[in-house]
Symmetry: C2
Subunit: 328 residues, 2 copies
DNA sequence: TCTTTGCGGCCACTTCCTGACCTCAATCCG
DNA sequence: CGGATTGAGGTCAGGAAGTGGCCGCAAAGA
């Protein structure tokens, strides 16, 4: 603790917390003379972290924004908040940030003390917001374990429940984690099969890093995202939704988030979505409040009619017991 | 750059990135002898950051999780991802983390270089997820400016558009930022009126820190959240929704997020929400797919009927032009 | 078994850190 | 305007600490 480096870190930490610190107080906290404090501040400035100083009564030091990101010195709550925020972003709350968020999350998680990790894991699954249960539930712990294994180039064992067939244990060299649509895929070299495989993260459970490290192999084709895309084209979704909507494309785009594609078709637009569950498109259409026509699939028509009837039924004025009680 | 402190930070940074570093390479990068590197690693360990070392061929150093959060050394992308994630969490994506997230966000934002801040601000408004336009649009830049002013104890000017009356400029000493329900409120001492006031953040625009610092006053009653709550009770929402739902309380609770309260009423439950817009409760009811009865308000019945009819209308099979084209 | 790679003691040399003292400069207050 | 407060920074001497080179040792893996 008597170290200079340690003191500099503490100083940085102090400067990151409150905001204006009188020199005397800083010197006191760091247990050095004011002269040395001034030198420390100078050192920080030389390192590229601009420290602002105000003179006169109620003067003090303050860390400002500089050219580089200074080392963030976080307390527990802040670290947890950051991890939680990243996890949400990774789960798709912010379009386009899934991958970067997972990378940053892996870094943060890896450095976090176990007790904080537990606090974060306590908020178990993070569902992508929006679908209200329509999206696949994503176990954030699984996701971060995978990300850490990719980063650390560590072999991985997990149970995998394929679309068809029985669950089985796998042993792989994990390479990349790729978000496509609202899902995450793990690209890995399957050690038992001796070939590249992609795994849907939500079908994967109890991943465990084995501790064995490996040298990354060449990824076929170079671009993993593209490779995955080409593989996934073959996999069908349950419903291909196509709806003509009488609303500006922009409005529809906002409502569907990035769950579907919107095609301008003045004065309205065509909305296409690939989903396994019809609840989400129904909700979007209901909220839009615009006229629309279903092109496909027929099942969506049924679903909409049923939802519509349910809404109307519930809106009936009825002073007696609710219908679901009467029928019971 | 020839400094020990700087080198330690660089070492920490390196150890935070890849994962396993051969000692020779680290020594090379830091431009010191291997012996000194070993000493640096020791120093890190003494500071409480556990560095794992593996011997033998393909050995190396690796930073592990320790008792404390080590200084996070982030690159640009990671910093942006963190800020974006925090912003989303602050906007209410994760229940219960709004306040902590905003605090952490203020800290991060304050330290971020302007170019990164611009990248973050480019993703303008973050709407609370869920309502799909139903919640108030929150300008994240405004929110962080307020948080920074609170933290830095700097006076603030902004334009405020009250619920009733004309917009006017305000000059305040900002004290706390409090999330209540889905909204943010700023507690501040109004300098012109010489009294405590609360401001709804989404009614507030172009905030600017004046640079003048102030000494925080005593907050009346001590607990700001409570004080605000008592103030807000008086303010009515437009609709008080109450619906009996034939579904387990737990399921309903998941669907409404924290927009309303759910009261067990076996075999179903009663859902209460206070909203300004009926779209959100309608959506929840539609997605639930359970039978329900509206208790109040009457407007919700109309709204549901109209939505239901719209859904049914759109589900009609019709090979020709869509209805909204025929009528045009 | 042999090689690779980290561990850490020892030593001499050099660097830089520290606290004390001083003068100066900006800011705020009355 | 003058005095008080608070930061800036030069200089100096003593001492603490960092450094590289050397060594033998201990794991881990082929």
């Amino acid at each position: 603790m008597a170290n200079t480096s340690a003191r500099m870190l503490r100083l940085l930490s102090l400067l990151q917390t409150h905001r204006y610190w009188p020199g005397a107080e800083l010197a006191d906290r760091l247990e050095v003379s004011p002269r040395t404090l001034r030198r420390d501040v100078d050192r920080l400035r030389e390192l590229g972290y601009p420290v602002d100083a105000a003179r006169g009564v109620a003067g003090g030091y303050q860390l400002q924004a500089g050219a580089a990101v200074p080392p963030l010195l976080l307390d527990d709550d802040e670290a947890v908040a950051i991890a939680v925020g990243l996890r949400t972003a990774a789960a798709g709350a912010v379009t386009g940030f899934e991958e970067t968020s997972v990378r940053a999350l892996a870094k943060v998680i890896q450095l976090l003390p176990p007790r904080l990790r537990r606090r974060i894991d306590a908020l178990r699954a993070v569902t992508a917001p929006g679908p209200l249960g329509g999206g696949p539930a994503l176990d954030a712990t699984v996701l971060t374990t995978l990300a850490m294994a990719c980063r650390g180039e560590e072999r991985l064992r997990f149970d995998y429940h394929p679309r068809e067939g029985d669950p089985a244990s796998r042993h792989v060299e994990p390479h990349r984690l790729v978000p496509i649509g609202r899902r995450w895929y793990l690209m890995a070299w399957d050690l038992e099969r001796g070939d590249w495989r992609s795994f849907r993260v939500d079908r994967l459970s109890s991943p465990a890093m084995t501790g064995a490290r490996f040298r990354p192999r060449e990824i076929p084709g170079g671009d993993p995202a593209q490779w995955l895309h080409s593989r996934l084209k073959a996999i069908p979704t349950r419903y291909e939704v196509s709806v003509l909507v009488d609303a500006p494309a922009e409005q529809v785009r906002t409502a569907v988030w990035n769950y579907g594609t919107v095609e301008e078709l003045p004065p309205g637009c065509r909305l296409r979505m690939n989903v396994d569950d019809l609840g989400w498109p129904a909700m979007v259409l209901g909220v839009l409040g615009a006229a629309f026509t279903v092109e496909s699939p027929p099942e969506l028509r049924d679903h909409l009619r049923r939802t519509g009837e349910a809404l109307i039924a519930g809106s009936v004025v009825d002073g007696s017991a609710p219908p679901w009680r009467r029928s019971a």
